[in-house]
Subunit: 165 residues, 2 copies
DNA sequence: ACATGATTGCAAACAGGTTGCAAGAACCAC
DNA sequence: GTGGTTCTTGCAACCTGTTTGCAATCATGT
């Protein structure tokens, strides 16, 4: 994997984090280790790609209310255990973040079947610095996602639900 | 204005397009030139930064229903007269596109006051090509927006409504 | 001017997400 | 363990952005 300018790139999602380690992180933030929370973390750690609140709720079976999922992801995001992504279809997606990795990376989304590929490339941070200076902005960050049509869909074997372009 | 790799960049919004030219484009697409449409185009051509449906509706005064604004922007987007942006706050924004320029560009948004700065820099198209090939995706495009805190806000002179981080 | 079909206003309906409140756990201290 | 304090949860109502059905209205070709 190289990158736009042969430079920056973010490694991530190398291995699944043990569930205990995750719940420990909850405790360290003085958050209670509840059934729904463990279940949500467990679902997330088994997943490679970002999941929506609805996805997670579905994966949980009738374990808890959808509102609980929303609240917990909000909490987890605040704790930095989870990172929010916007894949452009109006629903927030979440991925687990490891303590080492800040979770910064991007995605390539198939606009036909919603297949998501994790992308580690990114443009060099110096670019952002330059932008910040030029426009006198502080604490600059960015959001970048790619869209396209995966080979299966391109070949005609269309399937599930689409995401907007 | 340079760019991430000293390469690609999209010039845009050089001058206001005459209103007649815009309505002509409507006719060419066999769309009727109605009051609301002209007004919407007129509001957009006077604006430098992307406007939400609500913004436009407000700028129009009680000229037409909000639903009409939504429908028209959808139509205009389909015709390629307007381009949709997602600045991350849950409301779609639109900017007029000139016939020459495809409207591809990005924004730097202040997360405190919502100030928007138009950004012409972008990473080189070859990068997207490479991504496409590597993951066997076709027709790749991307969405990129920057967020930060503008100098005024950083200086403490906070004001209007925020946008998410 | 007329006919005709696109367009509009209005209200209802949606979807994602948030929130108030009372009931139900976790967790700490004893 | 027991008990209480405080965080969480379920539920239902609510909010915002956006879409849609339908009848009334208006822009356009003739």
């Amino acid at each position: 994997m190289n990158n736009p300018c042969g430079q920056h790139q973010h490694p991530h999602r190398l291995i699944q984090q043990p569930l205990d380690e995750l719940t420990d992180r909850l405790r360290r933030h003085s958050r209670r280790v509840t059934g729904p929370r463990q279940a949500i973390l467990d679902v997330l750690r088994r997943h490679q790609t970002p999941m929506s609140n609805r996805d997670i709720h579905a994966a949980l079976g009738q374990m808890c209310d959808l509102a609980t999922v929303y609240r917990n992801l909000h909490t987890l995001e605040g704790m930095g255990l989870v990172r929010r992504f916007d894949l452009g279809d109006g629903a927030a997606r979440f991925e687990l973040v490891t303590p080492e990795d800040d979770g910064h990376h991007h995605h390539l989304v198939c606009t036909r079947c919603s297949l998501v590929v994790e992308i580690d490339d990114c443009f060099p941070p110096e670019f952002e610095q330059a932008l910040a200076q030029r426009h006198r902005f502080a604490r600059i960050s960015h959001r970048l996602e790619f869209f396209g049509v995966c080979s299966r869909c391109e070949a005609g074997e269309s399937r599930p639900g689409p995401v907007e372009a």
